[in-house]
Assembly symmetry: none
DNA sequence: TCGGCTCTGTAATTTGTATTACAGGAATTG
DNA sequence: CAATTCCTGTAATACAAATTACAGAGCCGA
């Protein structure tokens, strides 16, 4: 909750010269074993620094905290914000979390997938797509396959909060096709399609592309046949030690896109969100 | 590293099944915000886990500590031993993919989340849940919140392929409640609920729990209020550099569960899949 | 060298915390 | 279905911690 992003340690280091000699001992002791010393009791902290308890209190007072618990709370907040759970996160070089159960392998695969997936993203294309999706004058239709349609729903639900004109295409395939009447050169169709590709979707994409709509495809590394008609393609790694394919990296891309779009038009988005919130309070 | 290489977190995870229900809530709360929760006062810890102070004390007692300060000291010792000053490290603890664009940061956050999330999973509990979900005699209802419902759908869709009796609860809240008539002690309700928790879901969980159903909750690190009624809880890290929360790690858990369930009953599952495939060819 | 000032620790006080006893209630077992 | 056991929270208690008042020690300038 710090107003500034500067850590307590850095603040101490910066003001070190303004402390009295014993207070400086306290400061050094704290910096030497950083968060821990400050999380002990005053007495223990004092003993560790070989100063008296009141000196510790004067030290934290000078740092701007009105009492010791407040200081400790600040330290804990920082510890919490910080990359989280330093205990859980071991060295981690490539992609193996600690432990070695079956879940560790699964997690490692997910991480590898994410890393590979993101490293293949073209930044310029990414931003082009983010801008397209942020353009409120373009209608956006979102659709997915049998399993990936859940991601399509999620994507559409978020995007619809940020901007108008977003629609998740569901129901019967004949239904989608009918909706394509409304789509033209200014409009966008986002398609999620991974392995065990569906002919439905390819057919839809063909129709939409024929009408001049821009198709954005999120697929796996082998590329759905929809790619034939897509203007922009994002491919994700989906292989994990499972009978099923993983959609986490695909979701990762979707979330990254949503983050970029939302950030890009936050002015308006925040107003929309506030309004939606106000609706909630009505019932 | 340390004298004993086993961390407190691991010990908790290993013994999770030996705790009473409320103690387990305390354990989950601690694991979800690992060292920090335990460094707060008993009262704060209790409030965070929504249990009473004595429950916290009984929890640490069962872990083998004779009093709370001793437990805290152990946590601090661990924190101290652990590669020193996690706060001093750059803001990125471990996992930066190459490159340094905004997407690299996003990807790094996703990876951190996944890693932390998986490291908090209790293997025994994981397998208990996998077995529960694999039991074809238990009905399974799956539901999610406004945004997380997409994951619920995805989960239900996969699970329904592997075994019978799976249902995604959608439509009006009144609709779900009506369905609860059919649920009893042998049945399971899987709830996805992350920040901006919905009262609907808590109400549903209460009803289901009242009827004796086993509730499995997939939530974020702050634990949805549904946790009050849940028998099994999985908490995921969801913070990313975005206006939205990330659901990738939650999806990761869901996929891991699906992998385990499917593997556990592959004999039958494969037959079902083959049959479903044969249906497709009919048109 | 002396007086004033700041710094520092000791000891008393106060505050807040952990702890424990107990009773109601849920779940379980025969 | 009843009796018992095990949980769980409330409230009172005991304890330990933070805080404050005060006095001596060291330091600087005069």
């Amino acid at each position: 909750m710090g107003a500034d992003d500067i850590t307590i340690a850095e603040r101490i280091r910066a003001q070190l010269h303004r402390f009295t000699p014993t207070e400086r001992r306290a400061a050094h002791s704290l910096l030497a074993n950083y968060p821990v010393a400050g999380l002990e009791t005053v007495a223990e902290f004092a003993r560790r620094a070989t100063v008296s308890a009141p000196t510790i209190l004067r030290f934290v007072g000078r740092l701007g905290y009105s009492n010791y618990p407040e200081f400790q709370r600040a330290l804990r907040d920082e510890l919490d914000k910080q990359g989280q759970s330093p205990l859980a996160k071991s060295s981690y070089g490539g992609a193996e979390p600690d432990g070695s159960g079956p879940n560790a392998a699964f997690c490692g695969a997910l991480i590898d997938n994410l890393q590979t997936t993101f490293s293949h993203i073209s930044e310029p294309e990414f931003h082009t797509v983010a801008n397209l999706l942020g353009d409120r004058h373009r209608r956006v239709g979102v659709i997915g396959g049998r399993m990936s349609d859940a991601l399509a729903r999620l994507f559409a639900a978020h995007l619809a909060v940020v901007r108008p004109g977003v629609m998740h295409l569901d129901g019967q395939p004949s239904n989608w096709r009918d909706l394509m009447v409304d789509y033209g050169p200014r409009d966008i169709v986002v398609v999620f399609d991974i392995r065990r590709y569906q002919e439905d979707l390819t057919a839809l994409a063909e129709i939409a592309a024929g009408r001049g709509a821009t198709i954005i495809l999120l697929t796996d590394q082998w590329l759905s046949p929809v790619s034939r008609h897509a203007r922009h393609i994002f491919s994700a790694r989906i292989e994990v030690p499972s009978r099923w394919d993983s959609m986490t990296s695909l979701l990762g891309i979707a979330e990254a896109l949503l983050a970029a779009v939302t950030e890009g038009r936050w002015e308006e988005a925040s107003r929309r969100i506030a309004m939606i919130d106000s609706f909630r309070r009505l019932p």
